[in-house]
Symmetry: C2
Subunit: 224 residues, 2 copies
Amino acid sequence: MTQPVRLQVDEKLHLKDPMSSELGESIVEQAILMLDEMGYESFTFRKLAERIGTTEPSVYRYFKNKQRLLLYLTSWYWSWMEYRLVLATVNVVPAEQRLRLALAELTRPMVNDDTTPRIDEAALYRVVVAESSKAYLHRDVDEENRDGLFRSYKRLCRTVADMITEVDPAYRYPLALVSTVVESSHMQKYFAEHLPSLTEVKHAQADASTTQFLTEMVFKVIGR
Amino acid sequence: MTQPVRLQVDEKLHLKDPMSSELGESIVEQAILMLDEMGYESFTFRKLAERIGTTEPSVYRYFKNKQRLLLYLTSWYWSWMEYRLVLATVNVVPAEQRLRLALAELTRPMVNDDTTPRIDEAALYRVVVAESSKAYLHRDVDEENRDGLFRSYKRLCRTVADMITEVDPAYRYPLALVSTVVESSHMQKYFAEHLPSLTEVKHAQADASTTQFLTEMVFKVIGR
DNA sequence: GCGGGAATGCTAGTATTACTATTCTTTGCA
DNA sequence: TGCAAAGAATAGTAATACTAGCATTCCCGC
């Protein structure tokens, strides 16, 4: 019934598939926890290796560098999100209802899931909220994009953009609207916690308010 | 007529006011150019000092660290944006028209300005688009916020949020909408250049399309 | 039990970064 | 002219982001 979901992440994201070995799984598992605890800037492969009880070069055998590890985790999130989103909307016929469900998924946090026992989804979601934009805001983005490393993000956005087009074929910016919603959902939650003067979203009800704010926004923009 | 605009940036952003000395001005001037050329990660105080013909400790006497320098530049941008925005809307009475003008300013790039001869506004704008979010996405954000270092961003958002409330007093998320617009305007331009599959905004007409996409969005959301 | 290959580990680096303590030099001005 | 204070230079440290090269272990078929 609940088989482990084997998410597709592009081969080029890692040097060696971390899901192919115990050490690789530990790297991913502990990287998520440490990024959540100390943030991207303070996180180093040395600290990670120390915590796992391995050595720096061993970690480098799986990931080219820490930015690539972040991109791997972020891609995992995007793929997982799309999987969840498709699951939530399959068999739902009315286009408007499908879009509403998709937006609810898109703005909802990840929660821990038994099918991925070593991934702390809640921690990963916090990492995504605070750090995911650093996965593309850097000098190597063009090269990484040429190598197809952002395919999962693009696929996710395309999927939701297509739902928007189904509801309102005349709307001209479905992709821009979706990428705005995705990024804004992270940002509003971050602001609610750290810069509350920049949003009405309250930390205590951040998830519900963000979903409401953005769902309402999308449906008003596409005229329903 | 066109006096140099002396923008207010919080004293705590710098250790010593860079506008108080020739060296300080050079630091700001060249930091903008170098951040634009090489990106935040590759930029270092050592390289900056070398380029200016001074030493690392001298740079550290003006700014605590490079993240604080980025925040200084970003705050300068926020202040400058608010100044521009107020200038564009002063004496305009109809609330809807004021908001429209404000949104045009908010999503328009900075262009070079004779009143600030040593600041390359166009370069600074590119830096803001690609790097400004790194000014708050880090561990020290709470402490910096307590010290009031984000006041200019908050003031800018509040100003525009108030215009929204004037047009539609019933709308519940004016601040969230404004912060979404500000961040999205940078993001869409970045995506247009580096990850074009994530937006309909085309690199060649990025500024005009972004203004249109976001202005349309705001007016639909607040029901005008 | 043995040979071979993959996986992992260890040691020991390099170049650079972020930052600082201390000393030296200039300069404004009394 | 003398002197205090501001500013600049020297010379560091600890940590970071990596890499090279070799040693060890483990599991496979034979």
